[in-house]
Amino acid sequence: MAMDHPIEFNGLTKRYGRRRGVQDIHLSVGRGSIYGFLGPNGAGKTTTIRLLMGLLRPTSGSARICGLDIVKQSLAIRKKIGYLPGEVHFFNHLTGYATLKYLADLRGLDCRSKAEQLARALDLDLSVKVRAHSRGMRQKLGIIQAMMHEPEVLILDEPTNSLDPLVQQTVYNLLEKYAEQGGTIFFSSHIISEVERICHRVAMIRDGRIVADDSIEDLRAKSTQIQHVNLSLKPGGTLSTPLPEGLHILSQTALHHHLVNLGSAQSLLEYLHRNPVEYLTIESPSLEEVFMQFYRTEELNHVARD
């Protein structure tokens, strides 16, 4: 199992006294995959990652990386992983090169050639002291230190923070190449488009709990099951009632109506045929809207009741 799924969570839970941390996380990350871990700020992404890294101790449950227990075999795990914290901090008075050398020395490895190769790819001057780095440069240095020892598993907490779109693209390419070579990436983000762009599978966390765990393809398929309908009626026309099952009015004026259809396309078309429609658009929501649906369950339930 560990060979196929280098990262496995089994009911991982962290509580801070009465405060919520994360609750009962069950996930499995396949080898060679890029796994997106999506959630708004404060949802529990960083707590989950810090548990994986052994920085926090779980209250209950367990997790394994490459078949090794995150609590009992943390040291052995750290030889196999590369980690980028959400807010990466370095020794300000060191140059980029000295920083990477220090971290390589802590691993007892010589990572010079790979580090230089990554620095070239990300266009980072390693001779500059960290205190003179912009946030973007620090983030690049963080990515280099996470990848320079060619780990089996990469754990990245919002890796494209502060990077401009061109560099983001380079990072995506690096990560895709790494995954193609058999590396596994656990990738937290709150940017849906980047998760959609590079991840094979995604889990969503809300209030410390996993609310969705699906492949990107399945989520895309789900998105086509919802239609947003915008229509204008001919002057004097009104929408017939009752609405078919699954069709709900989101907003309306005298002539314009915005509906959402969670039911079948057939019943929608039959309903529209019975009404004096003058202008009509039907759109499937973007993946972003599907994600947002998980965060707006209450709102949608309210719409459905109306």
């Binding site: 971290l103 007892g108 230190q145």
Partner: protein, 283 residues
């Protein structure tokens, strides 16, 4: 890669050489200034000795204001030699303040300082155990203390060589005093390691360790005045430091040194366990 820090060697060593070297590069200047000041101070202390006749000195001590006498502890009137007079310098607030400052600064930088700055996340993403970080901190602290102790001895030795003294200073007694003082330093360092292991903010850890040192000094000082404090004087580390008696050659400080080291070892073990098991959350 650093010479001799291969993965297998690092696995074998109980400390992290890269972390030790990193600390050395960050603190060599502080250590240079501190040890230079201590060396100069102790050199000067010997240089000024001949200016005072022993008999005059004892009269002078008897006439000292009580709070000044209290600063030097209960053995003040036991001064009977040039060596005992020189041992004053090892109880002087300048010596104690510099030693305590170094004992607090370096451990707090290596433990809680890394949490405070956020660099601990990257350090702990490498195969460096938390136990190794604490052991490296202890080693770095011991090394710094040894440098300071050496500087004090060197200062005294140079002073002896370059000053015409009316009676000789027994250098082996001075060495014993410095060993006893080093044990005091180790206890303060252990307190700093403990506060650094439990706190998440460096200011808090330094504040707590400094409070310990101030309280330790106050107990030593107030015990001369206040019967109640005298009863608890054994709780202060300076109770286990009697340089004037050691200089007189009438006191064996082995038990004091062992008491100080015993308390230090207990604190170091608690700190190592605590730091190994605690949550580390960088803000």
């Amino acid at each position: 890669m650093l010479p001799g820090t291969s993965a297998s060697l690092q696995r074998f060593l109980p400390i992290s050489l890269p972390l030790l070297v990193r600390t050395w590069w960050d603190y060599w200047f502080t250590l240079l200034i501190s040890s230079g000041t201590l060396m100069g101070f102790h050199w000067l202390a010997v240089t000024f000795l001949p200016a005072y006749n022993l008999r005059y000195r004892l009269t002078y001590i008897r006439k000292m204001p009580p709070f000044v006498k209290a600063m030097f502890g209960p053995d003040l009137l036991a001064i009977s030699s040039m060596t005992a007079m020189n041992s004053f310098a090892y109880l002087h607030p300048v010596t104690l303040a510099i030693l305590m400052a170094v004992a607090i600064i370096i451990p707090s930088w290596m433990l809680v300082g890394q949490i405070d700055r956020g660099t601990i996340e990257l350090t702990l993403s490498t195969p460096t155990s938390r136990k190794k970080i604490v052991l490296t901190t202890i080693f770095a602290g011991l090394l710094a203390g040894a440098v300071l102790a050496g500087a004090m001895l060197l200062g005294t030795w140079i002073g002896i060589q370059r000053t015409k003294l009316p009676e000789p200073i027994v250098f082996k007694h001075i060495v014993t005093i410095v060993i006893n003082l080093y044990a005091i330093y180790i206890l303060c360092m252990s307190v700093s390691i403990f506060t650094g292991a439990i706190a998440s903010i460096r200011g808090t850890a330094v504040g707590l360790a400094m409070a310990f040192c101030v309280v330790a000094y106050l107990i030593h000082f107030l015990a001369e005045w206040w019967k109640l404090v005298e009863k608890i004087a054994f709780l202060g580390p300076l109770y286990y430091f009697r340089p004037i008696k050691i200089a007189a050659g009438t006191y064996d400080p082995t038990q004091d040194i062992l008491t100080l080291l015993g308390a230090s070892v207990v604190l170091m073990i608690i700190s190592t366990i605590w730091f190994s098991k605690r949550d580390i959350a960088v803000v």
